[in-house]
Subunit: 239 residues, 2 copies
Amino acid sequence: MTLGTFYGLGVGPGDPGLVTVKAAAVLARTHHVFVPKARIAAESVALDIARQYLGADAEVRELVFPMTEDRAELAKSWTASAGAIARVLESGADACFLTLGDPLVYSTYVYLLRALTQQLPEVCSVTVPGVTAFCAGAALANFPLGERKELLTIIPTADDLQPVCDALQRGGTVVLMKIGKRLQEILALLQEAGLIDRAVFVSHAGQEGQRVELDLRRLYAEAPEAGYLSVILVHAGKS
Amino acid sequence: MTLGTFYGLGVGPGDPGLVTVKAAAVLARTHHVFVPKARIAAESVALDIARQYLGADAEVRELVFPMTEDRAELAKSWTASAGAIARVLESGADACFLTLGDPLVYSTYVYLLRALTQQLPEVCSVTVPGVTAFCAGAALANFPLGERKELLTIIPTADDLQPVCDALQRGGTVVLMKIGKRLQEILALLQEAGLIDRAVFVSHAGQEGQRVELDLRRLYAEAPEAGYLSVILVHAGKS
């Protein structure tokens, strides 16, 4: 029995129009579609984006990835999910796994792929890149990502905001991702650094509830609770 | 007369399958298609990618952007190009401009858009983001771009390689773009930094002559002349 092919599909950040022609074609012909099980509402977005491209007989299965930093528990979940995919591939059928944005930019797909390759060393996998949330946010705000020879730094926000300060200090263009509940802290930081007028905020790009805010002083005054599915783009100046 | 709409289209890095559904739809219905005039063979790639999506009556026009750092000369060329596009929009027709990869990632599109907005302040422009060359390269090599909370730094290579050294020193994932004739110097630098085994090289992703090289020692020994349309992705470690 020939193994099926495994496709890791980036479906872009929200607008179904930003799915690539290639990903749309794979979705249309692949019966077995795997998606990460949504832990928060924002996480069901990948399936929402892909829905219009699915074949009539597509079977969507959710894979559970626990929200934990416990490496052993995480490894167990990768192994279990990879096993579910491996069983489909061993039957000779293809399978695909959806990721929001691009499959390899701050994504969990790479762990799944590693676990799958361990279980099925001869697996044929095809990763289809996608449009990232920061490129979509930049397009909505017409905000250049990298000019001339300047740095472009992408930072997922963590408890410690020091790396964000350091990146802003270095200059170039800085993209802040995974902002979540740290939105207000980050806005305060931009204010202090004198960069609040050189930044834009984009959330839910291409989705319901999309917001493109070019005035971050207004956003700061408004003090919104959270910044899920949002990015802040900053021109930190000459690097 | 209502002004036409201006579309800035990212057509992705090379594989026509990586054009988005939205960009393909705009290409199919837009008569006036503008592309930067190729100064080297590699630059005709955007049109090659888009060709299969063009409408039967599409009219492709090349815009000349001189290869200079002279700001005044550059500004003159943006103004002239924006003027050509403005005349189409003023006739009520839509126009689109193609860019390789994403329109706002180290692209000249932003200058063109600024010049156009100066000439036609009421212009309606839509930027359609695209898949970047580094995401496509990562997909071909299954190379993660950013893990957990690590930095992702994107650097266009310049005469001075110090910013590259600094970024490698900081850690995280580093993407080297616009490598050109500096390929051998960069490989030497990776060798010295002890990172040559943690890097991959991808050139002409999705195009004829595509090369995915996971063994950079081999590439170094081979000493190829140039790295046009190529990226090097490096895991520089914990940041």
